[in-house]
Point group: C2
Chain length 580, copies 2
């Protein structure tokens, strides 16, 4: 049986656009000779639709879009994710579309409600397993988290429903190394249940999430059969031939420890049309699929691609044509500019150098040099005069006070105001350049360098900023877009004379270890000290992280690339006296 996994990029809320996209890819699947095509989780509305699901008229619109897809894709059996409203409840659903109609539905049983997921806010869990019977074969259908659960719907479909194939519709957000996690779990699931596992994942950026695709197929021995590419749409076509039982029905097997009869099984019988008949039939239109196993990227390449896709989609899906950003001559803004150019093309990227009395000639030169190497539009607006006017206006109140952080923040906020003025005037999206290390400890100015619509490096620790910069430079041309001096210079915000980041912060390798332990792994001060770090430094950093929740709450969204990002992945109160 030939199955196509349509690794597409839907847009949240774009019901018409998504329906058209699904219809187009169903057509491609049919042309590729597939009997069945599977689309990602909630493909009709995009993922995650969040509180849109609370609107009755939105759910009605989704239903309408689904019926439109059914009517336009009658020549292939399609599995399409959509929000299913039934009997007063709403489910995270999958529809089996065949012959121009909805032949059956499945409601996701395992609803994730941790990390970035809020599915129990929106959906009632399903309590029945669905198995599609077509061309004498049986396919279990489940959705994302279902496939991660041991003794879940996969095993039930195999053991109770006699499915030889399980198709999983998914929207699984990316973080570094997620691909390996998925492959380990799904391989085990396939082997334990004795079924082919066909896992289709969507692709694309959606606010703070990026979906990386990399759809997968495993055989009943748990061997990887096919892997789609990461970060791009792809139609992954495979021929799967489940072993047959004596009665001609495929057989899954049961992990002995499983009680797989948790749920009743619905058998949805569909008639496959002429095209897409099983590969055992003869005919010129059906050739064995050339199955591809895309290579995995290195960590740096993977993260870099993730960031580019996130920027590209945030810009495109929100209707922007161009972006604007400050460029300081430092490594964060240099890397951000590279990503913007690789995502959008240099003609759509505007960079603004806004030097002050504290900007060195080295950084000013590097800013211009980076802009030139990238070929972006470069502007220079010195802030000295504006800064002077603030100091003058505030002099009556500040005269007796020593200058300090206040004056530094004024400069950063002038730059924020200038970038926003360009944004407002020309309709450019402002990209911010702060990294995860700064975001963690609040080494940034709210409404200053934090001002903007999308925070490209928000989840990229400073040590990874360096690695990504070297990676990007390795791609060229020549020695790459980021000057050596930008990489070598001690990092500085240049908001005061002779300032460096390490006046205020521990060395970044230490800082990033503390952030990883405290933020990503939720460890205590005691546990972090036990890693071999100095207690006073750990306490100081943890205090800074806790004390800057108020800044992060007003930060721009930015893409998650680690297992725990700031944003909806980590929800701490601002008013919070807990320390430790």
């Amino acid at each position: 049986m030939r199955i196509a996994l349509a690794q597409i990029n839907p847009t949240v809320g774009d019901l018409k656009g998504n329906a058209a996209l699904i219809i187009e890819w169903a057509r491609r699947a049919r042309e590729a000779g597939a009997a069945l095509v599977a689309f990602p989780e909630l493909a009709i509305c995009g993922y995650p639709p969040e509180d849109l699901v609370l609107k009755d008229h939105f759910l009605a619109g989704c239903r309408q879009a689904l019926l439109q897809v059914a009517g336009a894709s009658s020549e292939i059996v399609s599995l399409v994710g959509f929000p299913l409203q039934q009997g007063g409840a709403v489910y995270n659903g999958a529809a089996v579309l065949a012959g121009g109609a909805v032949a059956g539905t499945y409601a996701k049983i395992n609803l994730p409600n941790y990390a970035v997921f809020d599915e129990k806010r929106y959906f009632t869990p399903g309590d029945r397993v669905a198995v599609v019977e077509m061309n004498g074969a049986r396919l279990g259908v489940n959705i994302c988290e279902d496939l991660w659960c041991e003794c879940g719907p996969t095993e039930t479909a195999a053991m109770v429903g006699s499915a030889g194939i399980v198709v999983s519709l998914s929207m699984s957000p990316y973080h570094v190394g997620k691909g390996r996690e998925r492959e380990a779990v799904f391989s085990r699931r396939a082997a334990e249940a004795g079924v082919f596992v066909c896992y289709v994942n969507g692709v694309g950026g959606q606010d703070e999430l990026v979906f990386d695709g990399q759809s997968l197929v495993f055989d009943p021995e748990g061997r990887l059969v096919a892997r789609a590419r990461q970060f791009t749409e792809e139609l992954l076509v495979v021929d799967v031939e489940p072993k047959c039982r004596a009665d001609g029905m495929e057989a899954g097997r049961a992990p002995t420890r499983c009680n797989a009869s948790h749920w009743p099984v619905d058998i949805v019988v569909v008639e496959a049309s002429g095209v897409g008949s099983p590969v055992t039939s003869s005919g010129p239109t059906v050739a064995p699929a050339a199955v591809s196993v895309a290579e995995c990227l290195t960590t740096e390449a993977e993260v870099y691609e993730a960031l580019c896709l996130a920027v590209k989609d945030y810009v495109a899906k929100n209707g922007f044509k161009q972006v604007v950003m400050g460029i300081s001559g430092g490594i964060d803004s240099a890397l951000t500019a590279c990503i913007a150019v690789d995502a959008l093309g240099e003609g759509r990227v505007n960079v603004v150098s806004m030097p002050s009395r504290y900007s060195s000639s080295g950084t000013k030169d590097d800013a211009r040099e980076t802009a030139e190497r990238l070929g972006v539009n470069y502007y220079e607006i010195p802030i000295e005069k504006i800064y002077g006017s603030y100091l003058e206006s505030l002099a009556p109140y500040f005269a007796k006070e020593p200058p300090g952080v206040t004056e530094q923040n004024i400069q950063a906020r002038i730059r924020g105001n200038l970038l926003m003025a360009l944004s407002n005037k020309f309709g450019w999206l402002v990209l911010t350049t702060g990294n995860k290390s700064e975001t963690a400890v609040g080494y940034a100015t709210l409404y200053g360098d934090m001002a903007g619509g999308f925070a490209v490096l928000k989840d990229v620790p400073k040590t990874l900023v360096y690695r990504l910069s070297c990676y990007r430079n390795s791609l060229g041309p020549q020695s790459g877009p980021i000057p050596e001096s930008t990489i070598d210079r001690a990092p500085s915000a240049e908001l005061a004379a002779n300032q460096t980041d390490q006046d205020t912060l521990p060395p970044y390798d230490i800082l990033d270890r503390i952030i990883e332990a405290y933020v990503v792994r939720d460890e205590s001060v005691e546990e972090i000290v036990a890693l071999g770090l100095e207690r006073p430094e750990v306490e100081r950093v943890v205090g800074m992280i806790d004390g800057n929740e108020y800044k992060r709450r007003q930060a721009a969204p930015g893409v998650r690339i680690t297992p725990k990002a700031f944003g909806k992945d980590r929800r701490l109160p601002i008013t919070n006296r807990y320390r430790g």
Copy 2:
């Protein structure tokens, strides 16, 4: 039996402070002759603790604080809310403390996961009902949402556990009219189960939520016996005498339609100590409690008090001494200043007038006049010079463009920068002054008038701003702090010549009706038009609401006073093509 409901104000994360608070109020309850004292939901850690609950060391700290309370409150039986870690799971728990130890626990069965609630993210639902037996009486114990559910733990405690009293530990966030909703539900619950319902609610502000107290007691006929005041701590002491059965045990009764045997019942037997013995015993220390039924406030008074408490607690619990805010001569900043003064005292409130070329003498005079009437610290920093320096610096790029919204935003952002400079220099918290109507349609400048730490009127529609202003003026002295001219003048942002809000927006009574329908009730354009509103106006407003999600995502937290506020109550994607 004398029961005390300790309507206290814990602080999230302040484990030591909350333990001390609970110990102190248990002492007061004992002095009042109570046999048992009940504290709010999660009183040990404050509510909601959010992702703090994901930290193992935080849970261990809560356990430690609970044991400290137990040890220090051995002379009274206490019911204390805390996060209960047991067998690898975490529950929203209640501890029965008696004789210096934990005599038993209850785990919340019904976990809310809608609106502002995320309890399924943190907690496993309990599956046993707890009944405390003391002095020959039986009391069911449950937590917040449990009491809202029909045929829930309340009925089980009564029917299966023979409880004559049910005590509910709660942290129920306020919105307008919530008190009436609670009384209707709890009265029915008491009457249907035939038990006394003793409902203790906490009080205080926590980020975007304010808890209003107003703890309640109902008798087994569903009659209100006692009501604590709103928005203030109070020890509500009642004598409840459940009818006795032949065997001397109290009896609840069952609503006939209920299958109340959902859960097994744990009976926790505790010995009440000398003080706090039942009222039927004689002795000089036990006198019948003087039960109070506090009066309900009017809507305006209630909302005003809610706003004051929210500001007071946000300031205090985050360690600020003073606040600063812009004052324009308009009604929003005037009302915000009144609330700040009533919450903090005039000596801790700093207001800054920042006039531009577009500020009228009328508004400038009103700003000063309001400040004088309130007795706050008044500053005047004209922005004309700074504004000029921006225009000059941007002239090379803007020369060919007509002036517009960009120039308006620059002015607002200059003001934001000045307020933040004062905040940074003197450690004052910036209060923002935007109302819900503006927040909905994005009639505000990101990083400009939206810059600040707490948005006092964020959930107050403009029409309610007027009502609250009149209410506050009615309290005096004389004609009140807000000048008549401020109330009468057509609203204007004064960012361009002869500007009024209604150049851009529909009249506020229309706008607020659309917001109420679209935001609070999730109605569609069709449904709103059917209310008798003009379709083009509805579509335009809905488009503005949808299109400004990105601004709200970076807005300051502000207190929720309606059934649906912007913030974690309403979670919409920024990237979202759905319209309707």
